[in-house]
Structures are given as structure tokens and as C-alpha cells.
């Protein structure tokens, strides 16, 4: 979009957070032999590694929200796909196939979500809420022991660092770049924005809104499958409660990144900065020894703040544009 976006502001805030963390905590700094302090970027890299799956999921969620929809099933879908990845890798499937399996499962979940929302004409909140509960039940059933581990070969992928950067980050970056370009430069991306902003106007120019809603949910399923493969290969152990609250984390990141919760406005770039912001806030909480209990409250406060900004913006537009979007 580029027009009065939030990206420059978030960029500054993130940079400030990094500077503050570097100056006041051991984050990104290690003592040298002489007892001084030297910059060490490995912590930042570790942070990005840990959030690779979140980046991928948040990018998928961005497209869903841009189109004016929502997907609450992502946390449970992440868990199911990760369990599938672990189990097929344990069954001795070659690594590429073990990577592909959770992606296929995720895409299938997205296909079901999208088909019910678009062609059954049922609100996405209801459909994906049902899917969230259903998939979580399936995960608990599939993992009676409470956890599963991946094969070592599978985990090796996540630990590898081609060209000094982890595979997880390579995958997340490639995916985010592809989606950012798709949102901006493809017909599909344009139609996603148009449908999210004003489905009536979009339909009148021959766009089929239900197709767009179907495709964003389908695509989000793919994204979650990919995220789960990244997650599983990085951590190696999958507990049956992983991904709980993941949907709220993603929505928070998307909205903080400047995408309107009402659809039609925002960007993939903003979302990436939103995820980074949440990751840095979490690090700060840890380094400042603020009890983990507060993390949820702090995220919630940021979400409310970002939604408040979003509503204020929508109202200002509606006033200025006489009935615009809100």
C-alpha cells in the first residue's frame, strides 16, 4: 500500500527495542576476555529461529484478514500437522516426504475451512472455531503419551545452517517474500484487497468474492502446514498442547503490523515487523525478569491498543470519505 502505512513507525520502534535491549541487558552482548562487552548477534538469530513458524503463520493470516476473513483453527492445525510430521518421520519416511506430509494435511484443512465458508456461506469465525476444537481433539487422540518426537534426520534439517542462516529462516523468508510479492503484484493479491475492503464493489466488477475467501483460507492451510514442518524440524519434540493461543498471537501480530481487522488494508511487511515486535517484547520481559504470567496481559494490551488505532483510522476514513469503508 505504502500510503501512510505503519511500517516506518514499527521499524523505528523495533530498532529502539533492540538498542535498549543491547544497552541494558545481556541480550546480544557477551563479555570479552578483557571483561568488556562485545556485540553478539547470535541471540537475535536464535530469536528469529524460534519465531520462524510464527512468521510463516502470520503471513498466511495476513492474507486471510486482508480478505475480510479470520482463521481461528491455526493453532490446532499447527499441532496436528506437526504431529503428522513427527509420526511419518518416525515411520522412516524420507525427509522431503516427511516435510511434504504436514503441508498436505494443512492444505486439506484449509480446503475444508474454505469450502465451508465460501460455498456453505457460514461465517469463518464459526467454521474455524469448530475446526479448532475438532483438530485439537484429534491431536490428543493421536498422541496418547502427550508428546511425540521426530526422527533425528528430520530434526537435522531444522538445525542445519546453510550460508550461516538456519533452514527455518530461509523457508520463512522465501515464503514471506513470495506472499508479499503476490499480495502486491498479482491479480489474486489485488482482488484480495478489493474483496476485503468492499465485497459489493468487487462483485460488481466481476470478481467473485467467495472464490477469494476460499483461496485465502486454502492458502492459509498451506502456510500452517509449512509452519508446522518448520516448527517440528526445529524443536524435534511435539507436545499435544502446542499451538494453543497461536491464533491470537498471529492475529495480534497482524493487527499490530497495521493490517485492518476489518480487511482491505495492510501489508505482509507490516506483519513481519509486528511479529518481530512481539518477539522483542517477549525477550525484554524475560531479561527484565517479569513473570511469564504477564506476557499474555502485555500482548493483550498491545492488541487492544492496535485495534483501537485501527478503529480510529477506519472512522477517520469514513468521515473523510463520506461512508468509505467502516
Amino acid at each position: 500500500m505504502g500510503w501512510k502505512g505503519r511500517e516506518p513507525f514499527l521499524l523505528i520502534v523495533n530498532a529502539l527495542l533492540i538498542v535498549i535491549l543491547a544497552a541494558t541487558t545481556p541480550f546480544m552482548v557477551r563479555p570479552d576476555a578483557a571483561g568488556g562487552r562485545v556485540l553478539d548477534l547470535s541471540a537475535l538469530r536464535l530469536l528469529l529461529d524460534n519465531y520462524a513458524a510464527t512468521f510463516i503463520g502470520a503471513v498466511g493470516m495476513t492474507l486471510v484478514i486482508l480478505a475480510g476473513q479470520i482463521d481461528l483453527s491455526v493453532g490446532s492445525a499447527l499441532a496436528l500437522c506437526a504431529v503428522v510430521a513427527a509420526q511419518v518421520s518416525q515411520m522412516g519416511w524420507p525427509v522431503p516426504l516427511a516435510f511434504l506430509a504436514p503441508i498436505l494435511v494443512g492444505t486439506l484443512i484449509g480446503l475444508i475451512n474454505g469450502a465451508i465458508v465460501a460455498y456453505g456461506r457460514i461465517h469463518a469465525i464459526l467454521v474455524t472455531l469448530g475446526m479448532m476444537t475438532l483438530l485439537r481433539g484429534l491431536v490428543v487422540h493421536l498422541v496418547p503419551a502427550g508428546w511425540v518426537a521426530t526422527s533425528d534426520a528430520f530434526k537435522g534439517v531444522g538445525l542445519a545452517r546453510p550460508l550461516g542462516v538456519s533452514t527455518s529462516i530461509w523457508i520463512a523468508a522465501a515464503f514471506a517474500l513470495a506472499m508479499a510479492l503476490a499480495a502486491r503484484y498479482t491479480r489474486w493479491g489485488r482482488e484480495v484487497y478489493a474483496v476485503g475492503s468492499n465485497p459489493n464493489a468487487a462483485a460488481i466488477v466481476g470478481i467473485r468474492p467467495h472464490r477469494i475467501w476460499f483461496t485465502v483460507l486454502l492458502f492459509n492451510g498451506f502456510a500452517i502446514g509449512l509452519a508446522s514442518a518448520v516448527h517440528a524440524s526445529r524443536f524435534g519434540v511435539i507436545q499435544n498442547n502446542i499451538g494453543q493461543g497461536f491464533e491470537l498471537l498471529l492475529i495480534t501480530a497482524v493487527v499490530i503490523g497495521g493490517t485492518s481487522i476489518f480487511g482491505g488494508y495492510g501489508s505482509v511487511g507490516g506483519t513481519l515487523l509486528g511479529v518481530l515486535f512481539l518477539a522483542l517484547v517477549r525477550s525484554a520481559l524475560i531479561y527484565f525478569r517479569i513473570p511469564a504470567l504477564w506476557e499474555q496481559a502485555v500482548y493483550g494490551a498491545f492488541l487492544l491498543f492496535a485495534v483501537g488505532l485501527d478503529i480510529a483510522r477506519s472512522r477517520a476514513w469514513a468521515r473523510a470519505w463520506r461512508g468509505g469503508t467502516a
Binding site: 500500500m1 505504502g2 500510503w3 503484484y185 498479482t186 491479480r187 489474486w188 489485488r190 482482488e191 484487497y193 478489493a194 475492503s197 468492499n198 459489493n200 464493489a201 468487487a202 462483485a203 460488481i204 466488477v205 466481476g206 470478481i207 467473485r208 482491505g264 488494508y265 476514513w317 473523510a320 470519505w321 463520506r322 461512508g323 468509505g324 469503508t325
Partner: protein, 508 residues
């Protein structure tokens, strides 16, 4: 004679860009039915809203029972005994009839101030008896018919001790039989000493009901007449009697082959039996009063409201459009009336808005060809003189006229063979209006077939080669450019037959 229940004296009201009312006066006596008539945009709605406390007049006086008042808002007007019966009833569909009758002023009893259901039922039955109606008190209001919902509104306003009832097109969704029942009730209200201000496009109703009639034209008061002193023709002449000062750039061309044939198109409840032809190089105007079903017909042709009866033929190919993309594929494009709801995508850029309908053509393997897109945007910016500094600007930040140009450019970019324009110049400045008229003439000259819906008589008469007139969901007639006069168009639109009589309202 007593002081009028309601008197409006020399009312002025302006909205940005338009003087809606300029010196309008009207009074309403107890037991009187006073009709208010005028073309679309004559200022009837604004006047009602001022009487109901929705708008405050810029100048002028409102007297209730002879006392000057300053209405603080709709609640204040209600408290002073003024009630509006809306076309589309405002009610709570899931609540019972009884609850709907008393929402906002439930009678209370006892020290706890509990809702007194028994008193409510008693008072409701009393009013029903007085009106000679019966409604099931415990049914959800949403299950009532349109007519019953209207009766509910009338009963509710009497329970609030209304002395002035303003009825805005009350019969537009009623059957013939229901209209008769309503007329009976209006008779009883009159005996009860209620004053009724009756707004209607249906002259036969005006002549059947009213004691006096006030005519508005372009926000001006034309006159108030006892009904016995006027004829339907005289009323129409007063509604349209303005000079045609505006010049329209229209050069009639010999029409070419038939581009669009509409055959017995219908959607029960909205319109029926619509048949007409549209030829290459022709501009056909569609006239009618608000609510006559013109936009609905256009939206049926474009597949937004898929027709349930009949079909269309585009260049000889028969089809029943089920969605806009189907109609577009056949070569039709529709430029909607409601720019904000159906036209622009406000936060998207001018560029993205302009090419929204032709992304398929601009995309190669899904990726937009930016160079082709920029060239196209530049071409249309120049051709339609869209004044925008930067095509990346959100279209919502543009003026209304420039927004409309973007919407028109988007339609032209699809290179349609049949173009439907719904109120193409509503709410835009005079200069842009003239530019759009010139463009329409140019497009017709190039062989495009154009259907233009307009509520402005001068625009209809000035731009059209032929004029179709609709009324209450039906096509009432067709006039050629040479023979059309404002009076004739209005007479057809208001259901006046050629022999001077008034046509009965048909059941719908």
C-alpha cells in the same frame, strides 16, 4: 379555526453543495389529510426530517399548536406529538408485537418499577379497537406482513399520543386490499382529530385521500391547493414547470443493430414484464420516481439481482445472467448508483480501482503487467481528465466528481458493448457533470449502446434518444426524443393515463 397542529414557516435548509429547501411553508390542521408532492429531489424528505426533529432548519420557524418550538431531536418531536411512519418500518423483528408497541416507554408499576404487562395489553387492545384492526400481540414483529408492520407503527404512535402523523410513501409495499384497509384507518385517524401529512408518488391516492395538497419543486414552495381546485394534470405541470436552461451535448445518431434485448424480465415483488431493446449508438434514458424499480431492472440485467423471469439477449445471444461476471463476459457493464457502497474501493489507490475489472486482461500467469497497467491508467486519466496528483493516492481522498470518473473509467476499460449508467451524475459538480455527458455522447457516437437511469428530468430529456418510463415495477411507456416533454414523462411516472384519468394502483 384553531391554530394548526403543525406549521412550518419559511423553512430554509442547505446541505453541502445543495440548497435542499428555500422558503417552504406548510400547515396541517386537526382532522386534515395534507398531501405533499414533488419530483425526486424536490425536498420532501428534507421537509419531513425537519418536522420530525432529525434536521434543524437553517432559517424559518416551526410551530406546534401555535407555539413556536425548537426541536431538539427526534425524541423531542415525538414528545410533542409528531410521529413518522416510515416506508421501511423500524422495528425489532425478534420482539413480540406488544413489546414493539411499547419499546422505550413501557408502563411501570409497583415500588420496583416493574414493567406492567397487563396495562400494556389493555392499552394495546384499546388502540386496536379504535383503529378497527387486530394484531396478534405475542407474535414476533418480524413475522408480520409489511402491511401489519405499518399498522403496528401507526398503533405505536397513537399510544405515544401522536397528533401529527407523517406518512412517507406508506403504500409502496402494500397490496390493493391492504391499501384500502390503510385508507379506512386514515379515515378514523382523521375523525379522531389527528392531522396526517401524506407523502406519495401516487396521484390517485392523493386525490382519494387528501383535503389539501402542497407542491414542492427544487426545494421551493410552489403552492398549496384545496384538492377540489386542482386536476392531476395541473399538479404535474406545477411539479415539473421549470425552464430547461441547461444545455446537453447530445447529437442523435442513426441507431445501429440491436445490442441488448430484454425480454419479459421479472423478479416478483420488484418488477415484472420488462421488455425493451437497446441499439448500438443509442442512449436510452430510464425515468421514473424513486422506488419504481429502475435500478433493480439494471441490476437484474447485470446479474446482481438475477432475474427470476424472462431473459436478455446480448448481440443475439440469449442468456439469464446469474452474476456480474457472466454479464461482463457477454459485454455488459454496469456503473452503480451508490458510489460508496458499490463503486469505489476507498482505501485502494486510483490505479488499483481503475484496473480492478480488467486484472484478468492485465495479468500474465497471474502477475500484473505493471507497464501495461500504467499506460492504461495514464490513458484514462487523460481521456476523462481525472484530477489526481498521484495515481497511488487512495481513491477515497478524491472529490466526488473525480471518484465518479474513476468508476466510469473502470467501466470503459472493460470495453463494454452495452453500458448501463445508474444516476451517473448524482452528487457531482456541474463541470464534471458536463464532462460525463460529453463522454456519453462520444461513446454513443462510437457505437456503444447506453442505458442511463436518471432521476433528473432535464438530464433524461437532454441526453436520451428514447425514454423508457417505469412505475411500480412496470414499464409504463416509451417516448421518442422529439415527442417527449417533462409533463409526459411525469404523467407516465405517476400513473396518469392519456385520457386525463388516474390509473388505479395495481396489486403487487
Amino acid at each position: 379555526m384553531d391554530a394548526p397542529l403543525l406549521a412550518l414557516r419559511n423553512i430554509y435548509k442547505a446541505f453541502p453543495g445543495v440548497q435542499a429547501l428555500a422558503g417552504v411553508s406548510l400547515d396541517l390542521y386537526a382532522g386534515e389529510v395534507h398531501a405533499l408532492v414533488g419530483e425526486n429531489g424536490a425536498g420532501k424528505s428534507t421537509l419531513i426530517k425537519i418536522a420530525a426533529g432529525v434536521h434543524e432548519p437553517d432559517a424559518g420557524e416551526i410551530l406546534i399548536g401555535g407555539q413556536p418550538v425548537r426541536l431538539q431531536g427526534p425524541r423531542h418531536a415525538t414528545a410533542l406529538g409528531i410521529a413518522v411512519i416510515h416506508q421501511e418500518p423500524y422495528l425489532f423483528p425478534t420482539l413480540s408485537v406488544l413489546e414493539n408497541l411499547f419499546v422505550g416507554f413501557h408502563p411501570r408499576r409497583g415500588p420496583l418499577g416493574l414493567v406492567d404487562w397487563r396495562a400494556m395489553a389493555r392499552r394495546a387492545e384499546g388502540v386496536f379497537r379504535e383503529l378497527g384492526i387486530s394484531l396478534p400481540l405475542d407474535r414476533p414483529a418480524g413475522e408480520l406482513s409489511a402491511a401489519q408492520q405499518q399498522l403496528l407503527q401507526i398503533a405505536r404512535s397513537l399510544l405515544q399520543d401522536a397528533r401529527v402523523l407523517i406518512m412517507d410513501e406508506p403504500t409502496s409495499s402494500l397490496s390493493q386490499k391492504e391499501v384500502e384497509i390503510l385508507f379506512g384507518i386514515i379515515g378514523r385517524l382523521r375523525q379522531r382529530g389527528v392531522g396526517v401529512l401524506y407523502i406519495s408518488h401516487r396521484l390517485e391516492e392523493v386525490f382519494a385521500l387528501a383535503d389539501r395538497v402542497t407542491v414542492l419543486r427544487d426545494g421551493q414552495w410552489v403552492g398549496t391547493y384545496p384538492i377540489s381546485a386542482v386536476t392531476p394534470e395541473a399538479l404535474i405541470a406545477r411539479m415539473v414547470g421549470r425552464e430547461l436552461t441547461q444545455m446537453f451535448p447530445h447529437t442523435p445518431h442513426p441507431p445501429g443493430e440491436v445490442r441488448l434485448r430484454v425480454q419479459a424480465l421479472g423478479r416478483p415483488g420488484l418488477f415484472e414484464g420488462i421488455s425493451f431493446e437497446l441499439r448500438a449508438g443509442e442512449i436510452v434514458g430510464m425515468a421514473g420516481l424513486v422506488g419504481a424499480g429502475r435500478s433493480e431492472v439494471a441490476q437484474a440485467i447485470f446479474g446482481i439481482l438475477p432475474p427470476e423471469e424472462g431473459w436478455i439477449e446480448v448481440d443475439g445471444r440469449r442468456m439469464v445472467p446469474r452474476a456480474p461476471w457472466e454479464a461482463m463476459a457477454a459485454g455488459i457493464f454496469y456503473i452503480p448508483e451508490d458510489r460508496h457502497r458499490q463503486g469505489i474501493v476507498a482505501p485502494l489507490s486510483v490505479r488499483a480501482n481503475l484496473t480492478l475489472a480488467i486484472l484478468r486482461r492485465l495479468a500474465r500467469f497471474g502477475w500484473i503487467d505493471r507497464r501495461a497497467e500504467d499506460a492504461l491508467v495514464d490513458a484514462y486519466r487523460e481521456r476523462l481528465r481525472i484530477r489526481v496528483a498521484d495515481p497511488e493516492q487512495p481513491v477515497g481522498t478524491l472529490s466526488g466528481g473525480n471518484q465518479q470518473k474513476v468508476v466510469v473509467a473502470r467501466g470503459l476499460a472493460t470495453q463494454p458493448r452495452v453500458l448501463i449508467l445508474d444516476e451517473p451524475t448524482r452528487g457531482i459538480d456541474v463541470g464534471t457533470k458536463a464532462e460525463i455527458h460529453r463522454l456519453m455522447d462520444e461513446l454513443a457516437g462510437q457505437g456503444m449502446a447506453i442505458l442511463m437511469i436518471s432521476s433528473e428530468l432535464p438530464e433524461i430529456l437532454g441526453m436520451s434518444d428514447r425514454i423508457l418510463v417505469m412505475r411500480a415495477g412496470r414499464l409504463m411507456g416509451e417516448l421518442r426524443r422529439e415527442e417527449a416533454t417533462p409533463e409526459q414523462v411525469m404523467a407516465l411516472a405517476m400513473g396518469l393515463t392519456s385520457n386525463g384519468g388516474v390509473q388505479a394502483p395495481e396489486a403487487r
